[in-house]
Symmetry: C2
Subunit: 328 residues, 2 copies
C-alpha cells in the first residue's frame, strides 16, 4: 500500500498542478499554499463537511461524494456573488483504497475544472470517511451578497426549480418508484448539483440579499428574514417546480417537500422593486431562470399561502443535523 | 438538545464575534466570511485534520483536542514565515454534548486569542469525532519561507529543543514512568504545542528554507532536501534536547526518537553562511533559541553522524498515517 505522501501526490498533487489559476503562487507540496489577491477584491471563504451515512448513503460513489463536497461549497460562494478560485481538501478515510481514491479524484477535478477552481492544499488521514472542503472566492470590494440586506417591499426570487432533490430522496427511500431515466435524472440532481455561480455573480448589482437553498427554501429564507429583521409572504403556487417533481408530487407524503427538503442548491434572493427590470434582463439573456415567489414584509416570520390566500402550517423548518434523523 | 444552528452560535459564533481582526469584514453567520487582504501581502493557507484514536487518544480532553487542532495549523503558517490571521473549523461529532462543546470552545479560543487569529466560519455536523481546521496567514509579497530554497553550504538549524513529544508518547504507552510534575510537563508539550509564529516571522529575511517538525526531524528535513534537490549531514550530538528528554533518553527503546518521532512543532530551517550573524542576533535578542545541527551538501540524502563521525542507520523516517500503526 502506498504511503500517505505518495497518495496525496499521485491522486491530488500531480493533477492539481495542471489546474492552477493565476492567483495561485504556490499550490500543494509545501507547509502551506500561497495566493495573491488582486487589488480591489475581497476574499470570500466558506467550509462544509460531508459525513458518510449522514450527508450521503454509504453506497454513494467516490466520484459523487467528491463532486458534491466541492459543489456545496461553491454554492455557498455563489450565494455571496463570489467568483470561486481555490479550495483545500481534508480527507479522512478508513483505508488507502487506490481505486476509490482514483474515482474520488476524478469526481473532484471534474467539478473543479469545470468551475476553474484550483486545489491548493489538503490533508489525507486514516479514519472514518469524512470529507471536508474549504473554498475561497473573490468579489469586488463591498459587492458581496449578504443575508442581511432584505428590506420591506422587496420581491423574493428563487433560481431554477425546486423539488428534484426531495424526489430523489423519496426515491432512495423506496417511497416513490421512478423509471430508470427519471431516476438517473433526479439522482444526478441530488449527487451532482450544479452550483449557481454564474447566476450569483450576475446578481451582485441586482439583489440586496441572497442565500443558497441547502436546507430547504423555508429554512433558508428564514435565515434571510432573521438576518434582515423582516418577514415575508410566499405564494406556494409560485414556487417553480421541475416537470418531474410535478409529475410525482401527488405521491410524495409531504406535500411541502419542494420547500422544506434540502439539497436543491438553487439561490433564494431579494430584489428591490426598482431593480426588477434589470433582473428581467438577466432572465431574457438566459443568465438564469429566476422566478418571483413572494414579497418581503415588515411583520416578522414567514407565511406560505395557498391558492386561496390561506397561510399553510409548516411544522418542519428544514434540515438540522442534530435535531432530526438524517434522510439517509 | 439544542439544534445545530443554535449550537454553533452559542459555542463559536458569539465568542468569535469578540475576536475579530481588522481584516475580517464579515465573520460567522452568512453563507461565507469576507476578509480584506492589505496591499503588498500574500495569503498563506494550510489545513490539517485530527481524528480520534489516530491523532489523539480518545481520552484526550476536548480543550486539548481543540487547542492542538489549531496549533498544528498555526505551526504550518509559522514555517512559512506568515502572520496567522483567521481560520475555519469543521467539526464532526457523535452527539451534541454541551459540556464537551463548552470545553472544546474554551481550548480553541484560548489559543486563537493568544495568537490573535479569528474564527471566521465553520460547519458542525453529526458523525464520528473528526476536527478539521483551515488557517490563513499573511506574508509580505515574496517573503514566504519555502521548503525549496536550501543550497549547498547552508547551515541547518532547529528551533527550541526536540524530544518532549516523543517522551510523552513513551509515557502514554507505559514504557517510561515519569513523576507527576514531569508527566504534566511533557503532556503539555504533546497536547498544547506552542507554534513558533514569532520565530518564523523573524526568519523571513534570514532563512532560505523552512519546515515545521510535525513528523519528526528526519522525515521533515528530508522534505526540505527533496524540495531543494540537495542532501545534508546532521550531527546527532548537536541536536538540542530538552533537559527532561536527556534525563530519560537511556530508557527509551528507540535511541533516535528525538529525531524520528513527530509532534515537536519546532522549526527546521537553513541559513546561508553570510546570514548567520543576523541569526545570532535573533538568538541574542531572545527572539528564539536556534541551534545549528548540520550542513546542506550537494550529495542527495540525509546522513546523521554520531560522535565519531560514523553515519547512523535510520530505518524509520517519521510518521505516516497509512504506513504505520498509530502511536495511540
Amino acid at each position: 500500500m502506498p504511503g500517505e505522501f505518495e497518495l496525496i501526490q499521485r491522486y491530488f498533487g500531480d493533477r492539481a498542478q495542471t489546474n492552477l489559476r493565476q492567483e495561485v503562487v504556490l499550490g500543494i507540496g509545501d507547509d502551506a499554499a500561497i495566493t495573491s489577491i488582486p487589488e480591489g477584491l475581497q476574499l470570500v471563504t466558506t467550509t462544509d463537511v460531508l459525513v458518510e451515512d449522514v450527508h450521503f448513503p454509504s453506497k454513494t460513489s467516490a466520484a459523487d461524494i467528491a463532486y458534491k463536497a466541492l459543489a456545496v461549497n461553491l454554492s455557498d460562494l455563489a450565494a455571496m456573488g463570489a467568483d470561486p478560485c481555490w479550495f483545500t481538501l481534508t480527507l479522512s478515510m478508513p483505508t488507502a483504497d487506490t481505486s476509490w481514491l482514483q474515482e474520488f479524484s476524478e469526481g473532484l477535478f471534474a467539478i473543479a475544472e469545470s468551475f476553474d477552481v484550483a486545489l491548493i492544499g489538503g490533508d489525507t488521514v486514516r479514519g472514518p470517511l469524512v470529507v471536508g472542503i474549504q473554498a475561497c472566492g473573490l468579489v469586488p470590494q463591498g459587492k458581496a451578497l449578504l443575508r442581511s440586506g432584505a428590506r420591506t417591499g422587496d420581491a423574493i426570487y428563487v433560481s431554477g426549480t425546486l423539488g428534484d432533490a426531495a424526489l430523489a430522496l423519496q426515491c432512495l427511500d423506496g417511497v416513490i418508484q421512478l423509471d430508470k431515466e427519471e431516476r438517473a435524472m433526479v439522482m444526478q440532481k441530488l449527487n451532482r448539483p450544479l452550483p449557481c455561480v454564474k447566476q450569483g455573480k450576475s446578481l451582485r448589482d441586482v439583489a440586496n440579499s441572497c442565500i443558497d437553498i441547502s436546507d430547504g427554501l423555508v429554512a433558508d429564507l428564514n435565515h434571510v428574514l432573521e438576518a434582515s429583521r423582516v418577514g415575508a409572504t410566499v405564494q406556494q403556487d409560485d414556487i417553480p417546480l421541475s416537470a418531474i417533481y410535478r409529475k410525482y408530487m401527488d405521491k410524495i407524503p409531504n406535500r411541502l417537500s419542494a420547500i422544506t427538503s434540502g439539497d436543491d442548491y438553487e439561490l433564494c434572493f431579494t430584489v428591490p422593486l426598482n431593480r426588477i427590470a434589470i433582473l428581467d434582463g438577466l432572465v431574457k439573456n438566459k443568465i438564469g431562470l429566476f422566478t418571483r415567489i413572494g414579497t418581503i414584509e415588515t411583520e416578522p416570520g414567514l407565511r406560505v399561502c395557498d391558492t386561496e390566500g390561506n397561510v399553510i402550517s409548516i411544522g418542519q423548518f428544514g434540515h438540522d443535523h442534530f435535531h432530526e434523523a438524517s434522510n439517509y
